[in-house]
Amino acid sequence: MKNINKETLKMAANKLMFDMSEEQYNHLLNEFDVIVSQMNLIGKIEGVDNATPMTFPFDVTSTKLREDVATTPLDRDVALRNAKDVVDGQIRLPRVVK
């Protein structure tokens, strides 16, 4: 398994566009040590490489599809209540393209 060090965490944080204090990185690193050792333990189980990865813990297959019926949308004022800056009914941000 890939070794997780502080550099790996900083790179991941950078990709996700946030940063943390040194103390928080150390805390997370300790948590990863536990996770990685648990993973290594699981890796020792015989035949684990042949098991199919699962997203759901049991068969949750459904046949449910929503009928294509439109319902009344949100009132715009309600929808945009949390937006800090609204211009002509649109949310305004600093320019997001170069």
């Binding site: 297959t61 019926v69 949308p73 949100l74 941000l93 320019r95």
Partner: protein
């Protein structure tokens, strides 16, 4: 050195469902910003996506039309990225199990017929519309969540013409299947081109350039042709192609650099745990296909079987709504050939003149069919039918009613016509003598006189027949 272009296309088709891919917010075009959204589109906490049944039916229909294998298990993944165009922080898509795979379509080019392989077709949700000003961006989430299908071709096209024909065919399929309006200029069909060049005969791929912002089929062809010549010149002079994204500039008709591509973005795809895999029954898939609207190709075949020539048939299927109008007109029982002539000629010229869509045309197809039946029964002449047609557009009245109102009914009553004919022949004995002496033209004079007496209302075919019978009797 001779080069060969290797072209693959990614087409996004916006579906015209009533509601969005995963929410029941309405799908509209041109509404006020942020008025067609609901809590799911805005990723409010606690909301859960629900898959739109019609979107799945549409994806099955398009997959079938593209000769694809259809997966009976619908699974969605999350494509994770941090950007303002989707409030969830990820787009729901089908990365690992596209609903359609391994298909193809056949195109007709100036070089003949060619089969283009299609790798995959998957469903996903559209992103929000961003409007960029010089120092800010505006977000309208109305588009966020509109159902999309993405169709990814194999890199099997070799020219701008082939790519244009391919897109034309996809556009025809999605519009005839009522899946999308296919309007490139409004963004409901969007196309990205991947193009590289390699030495002819080589099997190794060259460096790929992506072209975006192609808003018409014409521009796709022009952009590819330009890109082929741009890359050829670079390679010819020993240069190398940069992996980059370019856009087509309509003014200069050239592709221009948008950004140089660095490492591929890792989207950390994983199965969306909020959507349980959906099992589609065999019956569901079969019913979606069976109830599919008719494709242009099938219509073309049917029109030819009705006796229409290739040219007329092609004109009718060039527009889905025109062909639907023609099909409705056929229900009147009128001649297919006459109806085609009217639709391609008179109806189309009215539409061109007024810039209207056939859907808003004031004369229904069935009403037009009834007018044509009057012509076929010789109740009105072609000339009179055109006068009636003009009135139908103006008043919205039916042909039968207008024929009476305008006093246009042809005299088709044998007794009435025969008495007029007898009068004319009695008054012109010389014409009878001339005709019997072999002067065929003499009959024309008699016909003219009958028409004059009936103010042009005599049924010409019947009048001719009765005149000949009467002369021969004398």
């Amino acid at each position: 050195m001779e080069f060969e272009a290797v072209i693959g296309l990614e087409i996004h088709v916006e579906m015209k469902t009533k509601s969005k891919m995963f929410s029941s917010a309405p799908v509209t075009f041109g509404s006020d910003p942020n008025t067609q959204i609901n809590p799911i589109d805005m990723a409010f906490p606690g909301t859960l996506p629900q898959v739109n049944k019609q979107a799945v039916i549409n994806a099955i229909r398009v997959s079938h039309a593209l000769n694809m294998k259809i997966d009976n298990l619908v699974v969605f993944e999350r494509k994770n990225y941090f950007y303002s165009d989707l409030p969830k922080g990820y787009q729901i898509t089908q990365q690992f199990r596209p609903i359609g795979s391994d298909g193809y379509l056949t195109i007709q080019t100036s070089q003949g017929e060619k089969r283009i392989g299609i790798e995959r077709l998957h469903m996903e949700e559209d992103t929000c519309k961003q409007l960029h000003s010089w120092d800010f961006s505006l977000l309208d989430y109305n588009r966020a969540g509109i159902p999309l299908i993405e169709i990814v071709s194999l890199p099997e096209m070799r020219s701008g013409e082939e790519a244009a024909k391919y897109v034309e065919k996809i556009r025809s399929i999605v519009t005839f299947l009522d899946v999308s309006d296919g309007k490139m200029e409004e963004g409901s069909l969007r196309c990205d081109v991947n193009i590289s060049l390699r030495e002819k005969g080589s099997t190794k791929f060259g460096t790929k350039v992506e072209i975006k912002n192609l808003n018409s089929i014409n521009n796709i062809q022009k952009a590819i042709d330009f890109e082929i010549s741009r890359q050829s010149i670079i390679l010819e002079f020993g240069g190398h192609i940069e992996q980059e994204t370019r856009r087509f500039d309509e003014g200069s008709k050239e592709t221009v650099l948008m950004r140089v591509k660095t490492d591929a973005v890792d989207y950390k795809y994983f199965t969306d745990p909020n959507i349980a895999p959906i099992k589609l029954s065999k019956e569901f898939i079969e019913e979606a296909i069976k109830s599919s609207p008719e494709l242009a190709e099938s219509k073309l075949k049917r029109y030819k079987e009705l006796g229409l020539n290739e040219y007329d048939s092609s004109l009718l299927i060039a527009d889905k709504d025109i062909s639907n109008y023609f099909d409705s007109g056929l229900k009147s029982g009128c001649s297919a050939k006459l109806l085609a002539n009217w639709v391609i000629g008179d109806v189309q010229s009215c539409l061109n003149k007024d810039g209207e869509s056939i859907k808003a045309f004031p004369v229904s197809a069935l009403s037009l069919g009834k007018l044509i039946l009057l012509v076929e029964k010789n109740e009105v002449s072609n000339k009179q039918a055109r006068e009636v047609f003009a009135k139908m557009i103006e008043t919205g009245k039916e042909a039968n009613e207008l024929v009476k109102e305008m006093g246009l009914s042809q005299v088709s009553d044998t007794g009435e016509l025969l008495s007029i004919i007898k009068e004319v022949i009695d008054a012109n004995p010389q014409s009878v003598i001339d005709y019997k002496a072999g002067k065929d033209r003499a009959i024309g004079f008699i016909v003219g006189q009958v028409m004059k007496k009936t103010q042009g209302k005599a049924n010409p075919a019947l009048a001719n027949k009765l005149i000949l019978e009467e002369i021969n009797r004398r």
